[in-house]
Symmetry: C2
Subunit: 337 residues, 2 copies
C-alpha cells in the first residue's frame, strides 16, 4: 500500500479498491484468493430453519478497554443469531470508511474481527467497502450481518415468557456501556472497567443441550440495557416481569461509576450478556449449565415472571417495595455500540 | 412521532427507538408486529446452496432521476445474489442516520425500499438502526445484506470464462453513474439521464432456464463500470477479453454527458446491468432469452473471450485497433452507490 491512510480511490471499485481488498481486508478477514471473489458467497446447503440478522456499529471511541469496534461487531451479530437459538454459519462485513482513516487502525480492527470470528467458530465470507470524503462519516462504521441455522425445533421468542418462568443472566451488568463511556470521557476510575464483549453462541449451545425446550426466550441486553430488554419481553409476552434488585450482579467498579455519573446500570449496555427466560422446573438445570461455562461463571437468577398480564417490568427493591420501570427514554449513552 | 427529524434518542435502543421502529420503519418495510420482533429473523429451511452478500450505500445525492438510495440498496443486493445464480430469499436493512435527518426523507426512502423488494419478490426480514450526532455522518447510509438459495447446480463464477465465450450486456451502459453525477453537479443536460437501477433476478432466472449450464459467469458492472468488471473477470479466469467498441450500447445522452465531462462510459457505474459470459454455442439462445425480458430489451453481444491467457482486457476500437484497458484508477466518481 502506497498510502498509510484511506483515500477516496479506495472506494472507487477500481484498482485502489482491489489493492485495499487484496492486500489488507481479505487477508485479514478470510484469506479468500482474488480469483475466487464473486458478488456473493456461496455456502453449502444446510438442514434446518435459517436465522438472519444485521447490526451496524458506530461506537465511539473505536478502541476501549476490553475490545474495539471490530470484535464488538462480530460478537454482536454472533449473539443475535444465538438469541434465537441458531448456530452461526457465516458473517458479512460492510465497512464505511472516512477518507484519511489510518490504515494502521483499520488493520487493528480487522485483526480483532478475525480473532472474534475464530473464537465464535464462524467464517467471514463476504464484504463491501465504501469510502466517503473527510467529514462525511466519523472514521469507521461497520455493518455485520449473519446467517445461522437452527439444529433443533425449539421455539425461542420474546413472546414466549410465561407466568412462573425464572429470569437468569450470565454475569455482571453494565460493563460494556461503562467501559465505553469511561474511555470516551477520559474518566479516571479507581479500578478499570472492561467491556464484556464476548461471543455467546457456545454458552447458548450448552444451555440448549442442557434444558432445550424449557428455554422460552433469550435476549442480549445491549442498547437500552437489562431494563429496556425485559420491558420489551414483558410487552411481547403480555406478562409482568419482577426483577429482584438485591440479586442483580453488578461489579463495585460499575456501581461506583454509575453513581458518579447518575446512571442506572439497568439501562447500561452489555455486549456479552444473555437474559434467559426459562420454565421454573428447569431453572436450576439452566443455572448449573450456565455456571459451568466460561462466559457464565457469574450467572444469577435475577427475577421471575409474575402472575399478572399487564406488560409491566417491576423492580423489587432492597427494602421490599415494587417500582415500575419503563424503557430507556432519550439518549442516555449515544454511540455505545 | 413528536419530532419531524431524527433525534439522537432514536438510536438509544429505548422508547424513542421503539417508536421509530414501530411507527415508521417496520410498517414501511415489513409489517412485522412488535411482539414478533426478535434479535434475528427465522426463515424456513431451504433446499440448495445458500448465497450471502452485503453492500453499503452512501450515494450522494440521496434522490436522483430514476431512483433513490433506498431502491438502489435493495436492487444492488438482489443483483449480487442473482449474479451467482441464486434466488433472493430475504434482505436485511441496516440504517445509519445523522441526527436531524428529516423523517419525511426517511419515509420516502423506506417506501422505495419496500417497492423495490416487492418488485424483486424478496422480503425484508430484519434490520437495525443507529443514530450518530450531527456532522458525524452524511444524512443516511444504508447497508443491505441478502440471503438467497441456488435452485440448480450450475457453476457460475468470475473464474469460469473460457476462450471463445461470448460477452453480452442487457442494455445501455453508464446510465446510473451519469444520472447521479448530473444530479449532484446540477448539470443542465439536453435530455434527462435516468439511473438504470433495477432488480435483475427475474432476468437471470429466465436466462438460467433458457441456457443453464452454458452460463459461465455473471457480474453486474457497478462501481468501476464495465471495463473494471471485465478486467476482474479476465484476471480471475486467466483469459483475454476483447470488447468491440462499436457494439457497446450507449445512449446519445450518456455519450454526450461523458464527452462534456471527459469520462469514459466504460468506467461509469451501472445498477441494472448484467454482463453475461456464455459458451459460444449458447450465445444466440442467451441473446434471445434476454431480449424477451423487460430488463433485457437493449441486450447486445459486446465482445468475446480471446485465445490468449494473459488476463488482459482489450478494446477493439471503431477504426480496428486494439487498446489495452486497465481497472479504473483513482476516484473517478466518489459516492456513486
Amino acid at each position: 500500500m502506497k498510502s498509510d491512510v484511506i483515500l477516496l480511490g479506495h472506494g472507487s471499485g477500481g484498482s485502489l479498491s482491489h489493492q485495499l481488498l487484496d492486500e489488507v481486508i481479505v487477508p485479514a478477514l478470510s484469506g479468500l484468493a482474488p480469483r475466487e471473489q464473486n458478488d456473493a458467497a456461496l455456502l453449502a446447503a444446510v438442514d434446518g430453519r435459517l436465522a438472519f440478522t444485521t447490526d451496524s456499529y458506530v461506537v465511539d471511541p473505536l478502541f476501549f478497554p476490553g475490545g474495539n469496534i471490530g470484535d464488538l461487531a462480530v460478537n454482536g451479530t454472533v449473539n443475535d443469531l444465538a438469541m434465537v437459538g441458531a448456530r452461526p454459519l457465516a458473517l458479512s462485513v460492510g465497512l464505511i470508511l472516512e477518507e484519511g482513516f489510518p490504515l494502521a487502525d483499520l488493520r487493528r480492527i480487522l485483526v480483532a474481527m478475525r480473532a472474534a470470528a475464530d473464537q465464535a467458530g464462524v467464517a467471514i465470507v463476504t464484504g463491501d467497502t465504501k469510502v466517503v470524503p473527510r467529514g462525511k462519516a466519523d472514521r469507521i462504521f461497520i455493518n455485520t450481518s449473519g446467517v445461522g441455522v437452527c439444529d433443533h425445533d425449539f421455539d425461542i421468542r420474546g413472546s414466549r415468557a410465561r407466568p412462573g418462568d425464572k429470569i437468569l443472566i450470565n454475569g455482571s451488568i453494565g460493563d460494556h456501556g461503562m467501559a465505553v463511556l469511561a474511555s470516551r470521557e477520559g474518566l479516571e476510575l479507581e479500578s478499570d472497567i472492561r467491556s464484556d464483549s464476548a461471543p455467546l453462541n457456545a454458552l447458548v449451545a450448552a444451555l440448549l443441550t442442557a434444558v432445550g425446550a424449557e428455554i422460552h426466550a433469550l435476549r442480549d441486553p445491549t442498547r437500552g440495557g437489562v431494563a429496556t430488554t425485559l420491558k420489551e419481553i414483558a410487552l411481547q409476552s403480555g406478562v409482568d416481569i419482577v426483577l429482584d434488585e438485591s440479586a442483580l450482579p453488578i461489579t463495585p467498579a460499575v456501581a461506583a461509576a454509575c453513581a458518579i455519573l447518575g446512571l442506572d446500570p439497568l439501562y447500561v449496555a452489555n455486549e456479552g450478556k444473555c437474559l434467559v427466560i426459562v420454565a421454573p422446573e428447569a431453572a436450576n438445570a439452566a443455572l448449573t449449565a450456565l455456571l459451568r461455562h466460561p462466559e457464565g461463571r457469574g450467572t444469577a437468577i435475577i427475577g421471575e415472571v409474575g402472575p399478572a398480564s399487564s406488560g409491566r417490568l417491576l423492580l423489587r427493591t432492597a427494602i421490599g417495595g415494587l417500582r415500575a420501570m419503563e424503557m430507556l427514554a432519550g439518549e442516555q449513552l449515544p454511540r455505545i455500540c
